[in-house]
């Protein structure tokens, strides 16, 4: 799916660009971007399936309250994608 999200280039410059791995797929991330942001920029909005109905859920509150964006990072489960910064080669599993 093509990403609807877009990095804003105006009024800001970005630091190092690197890659993170999401379910085996390599995507681009910049220093200072959360995992959620990097995924959004790559068109990956669904971060988990809901408990009973297995419906897609994505970033909702965006400030670390709702827990909808929980993913597994480098083997550690329940990491909030909206708050956790991307690091080079970090491994995200949904």
């Amino acid at each position: 799916m093509a990403a609807n999200a877009q990095r804003i280039k105006k009024d800001v410059s970005r630091g190092d660009c690197f890659e993170i791995i999401v379910n085996g797929r390599r995507i681009k991330a910049y220093e200072g971007e959360t995992i959620g942001t990097a995924m959004m920029a790559a068109g990956l909005y669904a971060l988990r399936s809901s408990k009973e109905k297995k419906e897609p859920r994505g970033i909702f509150c965006g400030i670390g309250v709702c827990q909808e964006c929980r993913v597994t990072v480098n083997g550690v489960p329940n990491i909030q994608a909206c708050k956790t910064l991307s690091t080079p080669e970090c491994c995200v599993e949904l």
Binding site: R7, D11, T37, Y45, G58, F60, I63, C66, Q67
Partner: protein, 470 residues
């Protein structure tokens, strides 16, 4: 065990201004902040890696934040600032438990100040769990701090002038907004209202600028309109909007569909009261202040002696009020701890109180427009999710609510609503409003969900290791 004369939970405007005031009087202060750097939500600092090429782009709030950071810098050496610290419990004998770097630690305080902030009011409607539906605060964080537009075609739905701030930011960043829905019955012009609001804060010009941006971009502001549904397969593809009456109830035959991929919900904020409730402070319900708020004295002390509460977490009123309340409480705590007031602090106190009165008057005007009306909680259908963590539907809750004498705790036990990872932060405020709306058998104000530690999700291994180091 670590010790602090004054422990402060939260690094936003309330917590930081309290810390500065107390440190100026020589109090030994420890701040426990969940974020990486001070600032909270409103004054959030850009992450390392981003460099602003145009400082003006961050807006006036950012500048206010810079002023606060400067004050903090001057007393920083007297403050123990712990970032990435998640408080998960408040216990007897003046103890707080918190998680930091995957370890649980305890700190003993003499006085405690809680500045836990607020978050966007969760409002359930069919499709609100679809990726692409965001809170206004979340969207703002993405645009302002992460410098990403979360979608291509936006719908803003909610109430109050903060929606216009978000619209301005989105348009500046190149977003296409289909419409801004104001559910309230705004009589007169937005401009007048905003001049009242921003005029009071000393930046009347900003309001005008926001409206001009919106008008120039050709974005309609639709009063008395609500989002009734979001449709889509994996993401939002369409939003159904409708006209509402004065009680915010959808008017029959006024629905229409808009093609959008992102919906930002801004129905005002609700208070984070888990910690003041855990500390057994008395609370009262105030619809206009964001739900339950701790009962406080003039010096921001709760009904528990030596425990203060300030900022949006103690009643949603914005960053300027949080700064003033923080300073008042910081000075009061210093005196309670036996420190002589700093130079000029007595005079400041009277000025701050006066400032608060002025803000509260103004807030009443805005409350009249934005205070939630019953129709807001009548959008959910049988299969609409109420509890996002446990996937509890409206249907499961509806039948229980109408039973005689039922309360939130009973519903939690029966349906698992509020038992998930968010600790009832999402479904808790909804449940209270549903009980108020539908719970015909209830006399008085319904009680909220009970809280118990850990109030934030902490890995079991971390909890198991707690206290071992004592």
């Amino acid at each position: 065990m670590e010790k602090a004369e004054l422990a402060i939970i939260g690094g936003g405007p309330g917590g930081i201004s309290a810390a500065v005031a107390a440190a100026e009087s020589g109090v030994n202060v420890t701040i426990l902040d969940e974020n990486a750097r001070i600032g909270g939500q409103i004054f959030r600092q850009l992450e390392k890696g981003f460099t602003l090429t145009n400082p003006k782009a961050m807006g006036r709030d950012y500048q206010k934040g810079v002023d606060l950071f400067r004050q903090f810098k001057q007393v920083e050496s007297r403050i123990n600032y712990l970032n990435h610290a998640t408080v998960w419990g408040i216990f007897d004998h003046h103890r707080i438990a918190y998680e930091r770097n995957r370890k649980s630690k305890t700190i003993e305080y003499k006085n405690l100040l809680i500045a836990s902030g607020a978050y966007d009011r969760p409002v359930p409607f069919p499709g609100w769990t679809l990726p692409g539906v965001l809170t206004a605060g979340g969207a703002q964080n993405l645009v302002k701090n992460q410098r990403i537009l979360p979608g291509k075609k936006f719908l803003l739905a909610g109430t109050g002038p903060l929606q216009l701030v978000l619209a301005h930011q989105l348009i500046q960043a190149g977003a296409d907004i289909a419409a801004i829905l104001e559910v309230g019955d705004v009589k007169g012009s937005w401009l007048k209202l905003m001049q009242g609001m921003w005029g009071n804060w000393g930046y009347a010009g900003d309001g005008l600028q926001y409206l001009q941006t919106i008008r120039k971009a050709g974005v309609p502001i639709m009063r008395n309109h609500i989002i009734a549904r979001a449709n889509g397969n994996q993401n939002v593809e369409k939003a159904v909007i409708a006209r509402v009456d004065k009680d915010w109830r959808v008017i029959h035959n006024t629905r229409k569909s808009l093609n959008v991929d992102t919906v930002c919900l801004g129905y005002g904020l609700v208070t984070s009261t888990e910690l003041t409730r855990l500390a057994q402070c008395d609370h009262e319900y105030d619809n206009g202040l964001g739900g339950y708020v701790p009962v406080r004295s003039e010096t921001m002390e709760t009904t528990q002696k030596g425990i203060f509460a300030v900022g949006d977490g103690a009643g949603v009123a914005g960053s300027q009020v949080a700064l003033a309340e923080g300073r008042i409480a910081g000075i009061a705590a210093s005196q309670a701890l036996g420190h002589a007031p700093g130079v000029g602090q007595k005079k400041t106190l009277a000025e701050l109180q006066k400032k608060l009165t002025r803000h509260h008057r103004l807030r009443k005007v805005l409350d009249e427009i934005s205070r939630p009306r019953p129709g807001l909680y009548e959008l959910a259908e049988d299969e609409t999710i109420i509890c996002r963590c446990e996937d509890v539907t409206f249907k499961q809750i509806k039948t229980l609510i109408q039973k005689e004498g039922i309360n939130a705790k009973d519903i939690k036990r029966t349906t698992r609503v509020g038992m998930g990872s968010c600790g009832g932060r999402m479904c808790g405020p909804i449940l209270i409003e549903l009980l108020r709306n539908l719970g015909s058998q209830i006399s008085g104000q319904p009680e909220g969900l009970n809280v118990r530690p850990p109030v934030k999700p902490i890995p079991l291994g971390v909890l198991a290791g707690a206290e071992n180091n004592e």
